[in-house]
C-alpha cells in the first residue's frame, strides 16, 4: 500500500519533470533545454534536502509545526555568508559565488547547530511554541543583522549588494550545483544510517531511551546533518521559509507511516512536485510575473496558521 503510493508519487514527479522540460519550448530548444535541465537538477536537490531536514527536525522536536527554516536556520546561513563577504572586504562579488564561501558557511552552520543543541535540546521538555517564537524572533534579528552588515560593507551600493549576493529560483547559483550535489549525497548516506533510530524516536523520547537509542547522540548528529542540508538549499536558491512545513505535512497525510524511510522519500517527492509544478505555473501562467518562493510563502503561511489553530483544539 505504502509502496504503491510512493511509486505513484515518484511517477507523478517524473511526469511533472518531463512536462516542465519538454513542453512549450518555443523556437530554440537547444537554448532552452540545458537551462531547464540545470534548474530541474537544482530543484530536485532542494526538494531532497528540505524534505530530509524538515521531517527529521520534526521528529527530534516531536511536533509537526517546527521546521529548520522557521527556526531561523536559513537566515543564519545568509548572515554567515554576508559576514564572510564582510571579512574578505571589497572584492566581494567574486568571493560570494566561490566554493570557499560555501564551505566556510557550512562550517559555521555546523557550529551554529552545536550551539543550538547545547542551549536548547539538552534541556528537559522544551515547549514547542516557545521554541517557535524564539526561532521566529531570531530569524528576524539575523535578517536585520544581515542588512546591517551589507550596509556597513558599502553604504552606497547597499541594494546592489543585496540583490547580487543572494540566489533565487530565477537566479539559481549554478556554480555550486556540483559541490552541493556531492555534499547532499554524502549527508544522505550518513543520514540513512540514522533512519531506524529515528523510527524509534518517533515513539517518544522516553520510550526511545528505554529501547536503547542513544538520544543525545542521535539529536546531535541529526542537527549537524540538518545544518548541512539547509546550507545546500539556501546556497542554491535562497530562503524558502514555508516549503519544509508544506511538504512534510503533505507527506504525513499521504503516506501515513512511522517509518522515516517512507516519509522522507514522500516529502522529497512532494517537494519535487510542488517546486517544479510551481515553477511551470510561474513561467507559463504568470509569465514570470511572480516567483515560486512568493507563492510558497503565501500558501505555506496560510497553511501554518491553520496548523496552529488546529493544534490548539486538540
Amino acid at each position: 500500500m505504502l509502496k504503491k503510493r510512493i511509486i505513484f508519487l515518484a511517477l507523478l514527479a517524473i511526469a511533472v519533470i518531463l512536462v516542465y522540460m519538454f513542453t512549450l519550448m518555443g523556437t530554440r530548444p537547444d537554448y532552452v533545454l540545458p537551462r531547464r535541465a540545470i534548474k530541474v537538477a537544482a530543484m530536485v536537490l532542494i526538494a531532497c534536502s528540505v524534505g530530509y531536514s524538515s521531517v527529521v527536525f520534526q521528529t527530534i522536536t516531536n511536533n509537526r509545526i517546527l521546521t529548520p527554516s522557521i527556526m531561523g536556520f536559513e537566515s543564519v546561513y545568509i548572515l554567515f555568508q554576508s559576514f564572510i563577504v564582510f571579512l574578505y572586504g571589497d572584492a566581494s562579488f567574486q568571493v560570494i559565488h566561490s566554493h570557499n564561501n560555501f564551505i566556510l558557511s557550512v562550517v559555521l552552520m555546523l557550529g551554529f547547530a552545536l550551539i543550538l543543541y547545547f542551549t536548547m535540546f539538552r534541556k528537559e521538555n522544551i515547549n514547542v511554541y516557545f521554541l517557535l517564537l524564539v526561532g521566529l524572533i531570531l530569524g528576524s534579528i539575523f535578517g536585520s543583522m544581515t542588512s546591517f552588515m551589507q550596509m556597513i560593507i558599502d553604504p552606497n551600493e547597499f541594494s546592489v549588494i543585496q540583490k547580487s549576493l543572494f540566489a533565487s529560483f530565477n537566479n539559481v547559483n549554478t556554480e555550486l550545483l556540483g559541490i552541493s550535489a556531492i555534499t547532499l549525497v554524502i549527508s544522505l548516506i550518513v543520514g540513512s544510517r540514522l533512519l531506524h533510530n529515528l523510527d524509534v524516536l518517533a515513539l517518544g523520547k522516553e520510550h526511545a531511551i528505554n529501547l536503547g537509542v542513544n538520544y543525545q547522540r542521535l539529536v546531535r548528529i541529526s542537527l549537524l546533518l540538518i545544518a548541512v542540508q539547509v546550507s545546500i538549499s539556501t546556497a542554491l536558491v535562497g530562503p524558502i521559509t514555508f516549503l519544509g512545513i508544506l511538504i512534510a505535512n503533505l507527506s504525513y497525510e499521504f503516506i501515513p507511516s512511522y517509518k522515516h524511510k517512507y516519509t522522507i522519500l514522500g516529502a522529497s517527492l512532494m517537494g519535487v512536485l510542488l517546486i517544479i509544478g510551481g515553477q511551470f505555473i510561474v513561467e507559463h501562467l504568470f509569465n514570470m510575473g511572480t516567483t515560486i518562493s512568493i507563492l510558497i510563502n503565501f500558501v505555506g503561511g496560510l497553511y501554518f496558521i491553520i496548523l496552529l489553530l488546529k493544534s490548539r483544539k486538540i
Partner: protein
C-alpha cells in the same frame, strides 16, 4: 522611601530625554557648535530648522506613538506580547502603502497614509476576530499567530511588488529611517499627537478592558466601542509613522513590557512612562544609527530590529520562567 525613589527615577528619565534631544540636534555631518550660539551662520540655523528639529520631533512622536499603540493593543488583547510588530499591523500598513503606490503612482503621502490606515484597521479587526475564536490564550501562542498573519500579508505584498517591479522600493525604502525627514515632509506624524491625548482620556476605560471582556461589560463599559476606538487610534498612529519613517519593529512591544516590569499595569501610572521611554529608546537608537558608520547612516529600522529583538528574547525567557 519608594516615593522618593520613584521621583528620582522619573527625574533621571527626563534628564536622559533632554540629553538625547540635545544630542540628536547636534549630531550630524554639519557641525553645530552650541558655544558660538550667537554668531551662528545662516547655514547652521537652517540646518537646525529644516533638518535637525523636524527629525528630532519626528523621532519623539514616533517613539511615543508606537509605544502607546503597543500598550493599547496589549490591553485589548490581554496579552503582553501583542504589539504592532507581533499582530501583523506593521505589515498591513506596509501593504497599504504598497497598494497605493501601485494604484495611484506619485500620489501625495496623505493618500498613501489613507490606504495604510484602511489596511491596518481591517487587519487589526481581522486579528482581533481571530483572537475571539481562540479559547486558550497562552502568552506565546497569540504572538505566534500574529507573526504568521504578518508573514502572509508580507507575502501578498511581495507578490504585487514583484509583479509591478517595485520590490526595491519595498525592501529598501520602507526600512525605518529618519534621515530623509525634512521640514515639509514629516508633518503627517503630528496625527499621533491627538491620539496620545485621547489615550490619556480613555486610560481608565482601557484599564477596565484589561480585566477581560465579561468583567468590562458587567462594569457597564461599551466593550466593542472602546475596542474599536483603541484599534482606530493604533491604526492611525502606525500608518502615520509608516509614511514618515517606515518600518520600525519591536518598539511597541518592548517599551510597555519594560515599563510594566517596574510600574505594574495601572495605565494612569504607566502611560506617561511608556511614552517617555519610547521616545528615549528611539532617540537613542537613532543616534547609534547615525554614528556607527559616520558620515553615513544605518537605517534605524535595522538598529532597533537588532536591539529590540534581543530585548524581546530576554522578555520571552523571563516570562516563560514564571509561566
Amino acid at each position: 522611601m519608594s516615593l522618593n525613589k520613584d521621583i528620582l527615577r522619573t527625574f533621571l528619565f527626563v534628564l536622559l530625554f533632554a540629553v538625547l534631544v540635545v544630542a540628536s540636534l547636534t549630531i550630524g555631518v554639519k557641525q553645530i557648535s552650541w558655544l558660538s550660539f550667537k554668531n551662528w551662520e545662516n547655514s547652521e540655523v537652517s540646518v537646525i530648522l529644516i533638518s535637525r528639529i523636524p527629525r528630532t520631533i519626528a523621532l519623539i512622536l514616533a517613539g511615543v506613538g508606537l509605544s502607546i499603540s503597543g500598550l493599547i493593543m496589549q490591553q485589548i488583547s490581554l496579552n503582553k506580547f501583542v504589539s504592532p510588530t507581533t499582530a501583523g499591523t506593521l505589515d498591513a500598513a506596509k501593504l497599504g502603502v504598497l497598494i497605493s503606490m501601485i494604484l495611484l503612482p506619485g500620489a501625495a503621502s496623505s493618500y498613501q497614509m489613507g490606504f495604510a490606515f484602511l489596511f491596518t484597521i481591517i487587519a487589526s479587526i481581522i486579528f482581533m476576530q481571530m483572537l475571539q475564536r481562540i479559547q486558550h490564550r497562552s502568552l506565546i501562542y497569540i504572538p505566534l499567530l500574529g507573526i504568521m498573519f504578518g508573514n502572509v500579508l508580507a507575502a501578498i505584498g511581495t507578490f504585487f511588488a514583484y509583479k509591478y517591479d517595485i520590490v526595491q522600493n519595498m525592501e529598501t525604502w520602507m526600512i525605518g529611517d529618519f534621515s530623509k525627514i525634512l521640514k515639509g515632509n514629516y508633518e503627517l506624524i503630528y496625527i499621533s499627537l491627538p491620539i496620545v491625548v485621547l489615550t490619556y482620556l480613555y486610560a481608565n476605560k482601557l484599564t477596565t478592558l484589561g480585566l477581560g471582556k465579561d468583567m468590562a461589560k458587567s462594569l457597564g463599559i461599551n466593550y466593542n466601542l472602546i475596542v474599536l476606538v483603541g484599534l482606530l487610534c493604533v491604526s492611525l498612529t502606525v500608518s502615520s509613522v509608516m509614511i514618515t519613517a517606515g518600518f520600525i519593529p519591536f518598539l511597541g512591544l518592548i517599551v510597555p513590557n519594560i515599563v510594566s516590569l517596574f510600574y505594574g499595569d495601572n495605565l494612569k501610572r504607566s502611560l506617561p512612562r511608556t511614552a517617555l521611554l519610547g521616545a528615549i529608546l528611539l532617540l537613542f537608537c537613532d543616534i547609534i544609527s547615525r554614528l556607527i558608520i559616520y558620515p553615513y547612516e544605518v537605517p534605524i529600522g535595522l538598529t532597533i530590529g537588532i536591539i529590540g529583538g534581543i530585548t524581546f528574547l530576554v522578555f520571552i525567557r523571563k516570562r516563560m520562567r514564571y509561566a
